[in-house]
Symmetry: C2
Subunit: 159 residues, 2 copies
């Protein structure tokens, strides 16, 4: 478990130029093609690289508003609430957490007004006691992984 320098370079290169192909990668990295191929296979079966799915921008789809909602759940209703939220397309992500709330979910909507509809749909469910929503204004650091990959690649053993 863990990745080395070469793995890190492969991931970083792939993140910067996703359409690059194994052959070109091997040229850039100065290693044999088979090596890159083997590393990639290993990274994928390791689960380090989950896949190469398209990264879709909800804003370009017509959902420019993002919000995070903290939910409080009635005891024992967790499973029902999870199932309910899974059916709402505007719920992009759901976590159960420690702390103030019981769940945290990421929502998108077509507008601030539309967000009301989404929230109503989300909380219009019996097991949800209370919801508190924070609308996202800016996104100074979009979801990223490269800095972490680079740190992990430096053999940054913290075990």
């Amino acid at each position: 478990m863990g990745i080395d320098r070469l793995d890190g370079r492969i991931i970083t290169l792939l993140a910067r130029e996703p359409r690059i192909g194994v052959l070109e990668m091997s040229r850039r990295l100065g290693v044999a093609r088979g090596t890159v191929q083997a590393r990639l296979d290993r990274l994928q079966s390791n689960g380090v690289i989950r896949g190469f799915g398209p990264q879709v921008d909800p804003a370009a789809l017509g959902y420019p508003v993002t919000a995070f909602a903290t939910l409080q759940i009635r005891q024992g209703q967790g499973a029902d609430v999870r199932a309910h939220l899974a059916t709402v397309p505007e719920v992009l992500e759901l976590h159960t957490t420690t702390g103030t709330g019981d769940m945290l979910c990421r929502l998108v909507a077509r507008s601030n007004a539309d967000l009301q509809r989404v929230i109503d749909r989300v909380v219009g469910f019996d097991g949800i006691v209370r919801a508190s929503t924070a609308i996202v204004m800016e996104n100074p650091v979009p979801l990223r992984i490269i800095p972490l990959v680079e740190q992990a690649a430096l053999g940054d053993r913290g075990d």
Copy 2:
């Protein structure tokens, strides 16, 4: 702006089998290769599809703990705090929000104990007044986009 049925099918197919290739896609969708190619080009220049970067699992990298931190910032220090957080590899994402806190960030750590180190590093900065952290236990709905794409593809005009 917006996508049609075919765009939706292309994205969904691509999400399910990212390595599929334009030719195979055209076969599965029953349209000409040029059409798929043109649609893909358009989706990418539209910004609907941002890219095909590798999806890396922080857990497989040795960072199995995820947390969300709500930060309160001292007035006028926003820019400095943003810059500071951008330098922390364990900060995967950062948003500025309305509501209780001023910012919300997603963190990862090697362990619950290690999370303390990460939080110390995050909040060990002058402009941050207060931080409240929620540790993620489960992730019933991992970051997803397909349900939204399908809804958008159905010509679900909400303008």
